[in-house]
Amino acid sequence: MKRKNSVLSFAGVVFCLLLLLLFNKTFDSYKMRIFNLCAIYITLGLSLNLVNGFTGLFSLGHAGFMAVGAYTCALLTLSPANKEMNFFLQPILPFLANTEWPFFPALLVSGLCAAIIGFLIAAPVLRLKDDYLAIATLGFSEIIRVIFTNTQRLTNGALGLKGLPNYTNVWWSWGVAALTIVFMIRLMRGSYGKALKSIREDEIAAEAMGIDVFRHKVISFTISSFFAGIGGALLGHLLGTIDPLMFRFLLTFNILLIVVLGGIGSITGTVIAAIVVTVLMEVLRVLDSSIDFGLFVMKGIPGLRMVIFSALLMAVILFYQRGLMGTNEFSWDSLGKRLRRIKKRGPK
C-alpha cells in the first residue's frame, strides 16, 4: 500500500511538471501572470497558515514582513541607473547605490531580513494571546510600513520604486511554492510540527508534556516571516514596482481569506484556496462588463464582481464551516476511499 502511494505521488509530481511545461508554452502573458500569482499566494498563504493554523497564533502582521522582503530584494537587484532614476527627490544612501545582485542571493537575503525582523518582533509580541496578539502584530506591520514611508533615502518613501527587473517567472514562483509545500509537509510530520499542533490544541498540556512553548512559537513565527519575505519579494518582481501603500493591512486580509477559506491548519486547503481565489477574481471580471443574454443586454455594473465573489465566499463558509478542507490533508488513501464510496453509490 505504501509503495503504491509513493509511486502515485511520483507520478503526480511528474504530471505537475509536465503541466507546468505545457502552461509555460501555451499561456499568454495574461494567463501566465494569474498562474504566477497563484503560486505566490500559495507561498504566502502557507506561511501565514503555519502561524495562524498550525500554531494557533492569530497573527495579522503578514503584510509588514512582505514589505521587508520586497524592499530588501528590490534594493539589492535594482540596477544603479534605475536607482538614480527612482531617487530623484533625494539621493539613495551611498552603500546601496551600486549594489546589483543576482536574483537568487537577493531572494534569500530578503527572506532572511524578514525572518530577523520577525524574530525581533516575536520576542515581545508572543507573550500576548488571541485578540491582543492580533492587534499587536497588526500594529507592528503598520509600523514597518510607516517607517518605510518616512525613510526617503532608503526606500524612496511614498513615491515607491519602479523598474524592478522582471525575474519572477513560472519556475521561480512555482519552484518556491513547491519548496514551501514540501517544507511545510516535512515540518508538520516531524516532531516540531507535532509540538506546534499540541500548542494549538492546549498550551498548558503541551507545556506539561515538556514542550518549550515560547521557543516553538518563536520558531514558527520566524519561519513564517521568512517565507512571507520571499513571497513579498516575488510579488514585487512580478509587478516591477512597489510602494509602501501596497502593504496595507488589506493585503494581510487577502491572504487570511485564503487561509480561512482553505481551512485553518490544512496545507492542501491553502493550496486549493489560493488557486481558487486568484482565478475566480479574474474569471468574475465578465460581470463588470456588459453581458449579452441574447434577448437583452445587461449593462455592466462596476463592482458586481465583488458582490458575487463575496456571496460565493459566504456560501462556502456556511456549508463548510471549517473551510474547504477543515484540518484534513490530501492523501491517496482518502482519495481511494472516496472513489470507492462513489462507486458503491453509483449502481443504486
Binding site: V146, G160, V283, G303
Partner: protein, 386 residues
C-alpha cells in the same frame, strides 16, 4: 440532500457566468470593424470616486467622438480595485485578452506604475489622465499623460507666493505618506529657494500621515517660526482640518495648496475657515480655455446636470489625444500611434492646450483658484515655462 442541492445551484451559477462570458467573446469577434481603447480605473475600493470621475470624462468623449478613420471606437473598461496587483492584472488583460489599441488610466500614480512595464513590453501606447508622480512616465516611452506634473505645479505655487503675495519665508506641511504631496513640497522648495536666492527661505517642514486628525502640534511649531506663507499640499480631508486648526490657533497668514483641494468635501469640512485659501489646478469651469472646453462643459452639464471636476476634463482629454494621434498616424499600428502621441503639440483639449515633452508629460497652463464665499473662484492662469 439539501446540501447537494445548494452546491448544485452554486455550480450552475458559476457555469452560467462562464457561458455568458464565452458567448460575449464570440459576439465581439463577429464585428472586427471596431477599434478598442482600454480604460483601467479604480471602480471599487478606496479610490472609486476618483476613478468614476475620470470614466465620466472618457465616456463623454467617446459619445461625442465615437469614430476614428471610419471605425467605431469601443471602450473596454476594467476595474483595478484600487489595488496594485489588480491594476497589473487589469492592464495585462486589456493587452492580451481584449487586444486594445491604446489604454487610458489610471487614477492614482501607484496603479499606473504597476501597468508601466506591461504596456512597455507589449508596446501599447498608454495615456494617463491625472497620475502626477514623475516616475510614471520616466524611462517608459509608451506612457504619456495629459496633466502637468508635480515639478510644474510646485513651481507655479512658489511663483505665486513670491510674486503675488510677496512672501519671502515659507513653512511647509506635507502628507508624508502621499507621493503627490511629497513631490509638490519638494519642487516648491526648490523653486522658492531659487526665487528668493535664500537657502534658508524654507523655515521648517512638518509631516503628517494620511488619516491624521490633529495637526495642532505641527502648526504650533510652525507658528513660532513666523513664516509669510504656509504651503500645505495634501488630501482634501486632512488639508481642510489642517487649515481649520491653523485658523483656530490664530495663524492668519495665507495657506496654499494643490489641485486636490478642489473638492466639495474641502469646503464642507473647512467651512468658513478655508475662506481665502489659494491652490493651483488644471481646469476651471468659469473661463473656458479652448473651444473644446466650451463643448465639453456644455455637453457635460447636459448629460450629468452638474459641474465637472478637473479630472473629468483630463479623462476627456486623454481620449481626445489618443484619437488625434490615430488620425495623424493614419493607421491602427500601435507603434505608429505611440510616435504620433509623442509628437502631440499645441493640441486644444478641454483642460488646456497640450504639448508633450520628451518624457511624455504635458506642458500646459495652470489655473489658480481661491476659496471665496463657500465656492471656488478663478484667480488667474499661469502659462507654462517652455
Amino acid at each position: 440532500m439539501k446540501k447537494t442541492c445548494t452546491l448544485l445551484a452554486c455550480g450552475l451559477l458559476i457555469l452560467a457566468v462562464f457561458i455568458t462570458g464565452c458567448s460575449k467573446d464570440e459576439g465581439k469577434e463577429a464585428e472586427p470593424e471596431v477599434i478598442k481603447i482600454g480604460v483601467f480605473e479604480p471602480m471599487t475600493g478606496a479610490n472609486a470616486a476618483g476613478g468614476a470621475m475620470e470614466i465620466e470624462g472618457v465616456e463623454l468623449a467617446n459619445k461625442l467622438y465615437p469614430e476614428v478613420l471610419g471605425k467605431k471606437v469601443e471602450l473596454v473598461i476594467v476595474d483595478n480595485k484600487s489595488d496594485k496587483v489588480e491594476a497589473a492584472n487589469a492592464a495585462t488583460r486589456l493587452v492580451d485578452k481584449d487586444k486594445v489599441t491604446a489604454i487610458i488610466g489610471s487614477w492614482g500614480s501607484s496603479f499606473s506604475m504597476a501597468a508601466g512595464p506591461i504596456v512597455q513590453n507589449s508596446q501599447v501606447p498608454t495615456v494617463g489622465a491625472s497620475c502626477t508622480n514623475p516616475l510614471v512616465t520616466k524611462g517608459n516611452e509608451y506612457y504619456f499623460r495629459v496633466c502637468f506634473i508635480d515639478p510644474f505645479q510646485g513651481t507655479v505655487m512658489a511663483n505665486y507666493a513670491y510674486n503675488e503675495l510677496g512672501a519671502r519665508k515659507t513653512a511647509i506641511v506635507q502628507e508624508i505618506s502621499n507621493d503627490y504631496s511629497v513631490g509638490l513640497a519638494k519642487f516648491y522648495t526648490d523653486a522658492f529657494k531659487a526665487l528668493t536666492g535664500d537657502e534658508k527661505a524654507i523655515l521648517g517642514v512638518a509631516n503628517y500621515n494620511t488619516g491624521d486628525q490633529d495637526f495642532t502640534a505641527q502648526l504650533t511649531n510652525l507658528k513660532q517660526l513666523n513664516p509669510d506663507v504656509i504651503f500645505a499640499p495634501g488630501n482634501y480631508t486632512e488639508s481642510a482640518l489642517l487649515v481649520k486648526q491653523a485658523r483656530e490657533l490664530g495663524i492668519t497668514i495665507p495657506i496654499l495648496g494643490g489641485d486636490t483641494w478642489e473638492a466639495p468635501e474641502f469646503l464642507d469640512i473647512g467651512k468658513a475657515a478655508v475662506e481665502g485659501s489659494v491652490f493651483s489646478t488644471f481646469f476651471t469651469t468659469e473661463v473656458p480655455i479652448t473651444q473644446e472646453s466650451e463643448k465639453f462643459l456644455e455637453e457635460y452639464r447636459k448629460a450629468y446636470g452638474k459641474e465637472p471636476a478637473s479630472v473629468t476634463a483630463l479623462g476627456y482629454d486623454a481620449y481626445l489625444v489618443i484619437l488625434d494621434a490615430i488620425k495623424r498616424a493614419g493607421s491602427f499600428d500601435r507603434v505608429a500611434i505611440r510616435d504620433a502621441i509623442a509628437e502631440t503639440s499645441d493640441f486644444p483639449g478641454a483642460a488646456g492646450i497640450i504639448s508633450l515633452d520628451e518624457n511624455g508629460d504635458a506642458v500646459k497652463s495652470a489655473v489658480i483658484k481661491q476659496v471665496k464665499d463657500g465656492g471656488f473662484v478663478y484667480l488667474t492662469t499661469v502659462e507654462p515655462i517652455k
